[in-house]
Subunit: 385 residues, 2 copies
Amino acid sequence: MANYFSSNFTLGILGGGQLGKMMLYETRKFDITTHVIDPSAEAPSRISCDYFEQGDLMDFDTVYNFGKNVDVLTFEIEGVNIEALAKLESEGKKVYPSSETLKNIQDKGVQKNFYKLHKIPTAPFLVFKTKDDLTEAIVRKELTLPFVWKSCTGGYDGNGVSVIRTEEDIIPLAEGSCIAEKLIPFKNELAVIVVRNPSGEVKTYPVVEMEFHPEANQVEYVICPARIDDKVAKNARDIAVKVSEAFKHVGLLAVEMFQTEDDEIIVNEVAPRPHNSGHYSIEGSYTNQFEQQIRAILDLPLGNTDSKVGGIMVNLVGAEGHTGEVVYENIEKIMAMQGVTPHIYGKKQTRPFRKMGHVTIVNEDIDKAREIAEEVKNNIKVISK
Amino acid sequence: MANYFSSNFTLGILGGGQLGKMMLYETRKFDITTHVIDPSAEAPSRISCDYFEQGDLMDFDTVYNFGKNVDVLTFEIEGVNIEALAKLESEGKKVYPSSETLKNIQDKGVQKNFYKLHKIPTAPFLVFKTKDDLTEAIVRKELTLPFVWKSCTGGYDGNGVSVIRTEEDIIPLAEGSCIAEKLIPFKNELAVIVVRNPSGEVKTYPVVEMEFHPEANQVEYVICPARIDDKVAKNARDIAVKVSEAFKHVGLLAVEMFQTEDDEIIVNEVAPRPHNSGHYSIEGSYTNQFEQQIRAILDLPLGNTDSKVGGIMVNLVGAEGHTGEVVYENIEKIMAMQGVTPHIYGKKQTRPFRKMGHVTIVNEDIDKAREIAEEVKNNIKVISK
């Protein structure tokens, strides 16, 4: 086993956003040397790493040269140059997750076909190379409304997804490859984080539930554990393991799923990295997802994925009508509430709907946590000066 | 209330050791700008702060000039220039804990007299300006063996403390001011961390217990909660609050205490900062001591001091006979044990008894945690290459 702790071993991380930043708490805890690269000079990970580089993650030479100087390479964002990863692997560099896994995930059309090939339950879909192909399919009645449109590439945080109910909804859609998915009514949106190390040890975190705002169709709370039947939860965790195995995935894989009206579990999409749905784990779990990611990609033993206490996560997004230097209004009010921890990502400028941080609420009693979460939501505001 | 989060507000920290390093996880979490100063260019806090300076913490000008450029000044080590703190305070700078508090703590003779003045139970003692004065007192029979000798200044991690049983034990003692304390037999060594913010909110953490190795008179495990009667625990927490109030302390105050054979609590000494006895809180508590320190000195609401689960802390100290580049032997073995988290401080060189890190073991069942802690202790070794 390599000596990772206070040694010359170097972990490289492509991407320096909030996920990378939270990963760095763990590399500091273990005193693992890190190199980070991000397109922004003001990336949240700019400090706490041992070496920071500004660069384009989609550029072959940039990623290749960055990867050459580290011992293990990982990423905290899917939008990275896969060819560079493959070249590094061919030269013997350890890249986790692998370029092969990422290739099957990065493009949503490829990802959906992968599920079909591996008999993983997912909503029926069609893939289109261009927006023209999509509209033509509608004209030919090969595709009928309503459906869910998803851009094959570049989608993030709900961008690149639209529910198409009328022909007018098609007008603003982006050009480029996309998928059209059958709109399946569901009871719950769930997620399971699976983790695997190169030695083959596999663990799943408990199922989390996304609770939506009753009117605005937006996730308000991520709740762990999900308030669902044990049988459904077991099925969700089993399917998540199956997905992870199919991808031969190493590291964290967040599997987003729907629980249909008749309690079937279908896979929506995956993210091969730490995930918003696992943020609760920093305060809630025996091993938080960021430490777990480090353990996994360095082939260390995986930590306990159980929860110490119930956890709820609320995203802190920029309020509408506010653009400029950020102020977290009432943050001291929510910090006075029981079991409440704000996480501020470090973006100096807010703008409407920008993800600026999150708040975790932990409590032995998940219903009590849910009450406090609502109080948090009603008080905190991300505004500009 | 000042805007601390992603703002121009700057917190200054005197000292960049492991305590500062762990405090920086929390300033990063809240995105609070930090300046750190330490005599060593390789200080564990050298990264993760926004600005690092190498400098002598006992030098007036160095501390004064460093403090001038921050909004709130704190320290993670007692050995800092108090006159510089006082001057900064006189100019309106917020310094927490205050120079006045530190003055009553930094010198152990002053600290003991402070307890006497404030009727805080402590072992009977005599203060001596020099070693000559001490030996003279023995000759004059004003002081009788056995007693506990403590250097008034510069003691750290058990350095500067000796049990004097024979006249020969006196020979190796350092020159300089010291105290001689009555040797009181005790059942348990306990500690309580008290926290207070400038607004006067006060909380105590649960009592922790130091379990000693049966032969080598060394702390092996710090256990939270202490395995003592509720009545004794309540008394210990009450006395700790009284101590903190007497010092008009702001921030964390770790109060080390003895539980005597007849269940009296007497105060041994205090540390006005995060403390080894509170390290378990990172994994064990709703609010860890480092986050709590940030909340306190910024006059934010204090967090819940209760434990989520039982916690045990084992120090990682350099093994005897090993000096040089550090290797954490069997670290992957202990990471495979349930609820085990190593913390590696980032010192590249080990030497016998150097504090290199710590390991936390958490479990709902404290007896189970204690079993695992013993396994950890029996496996991990801090050696050189």
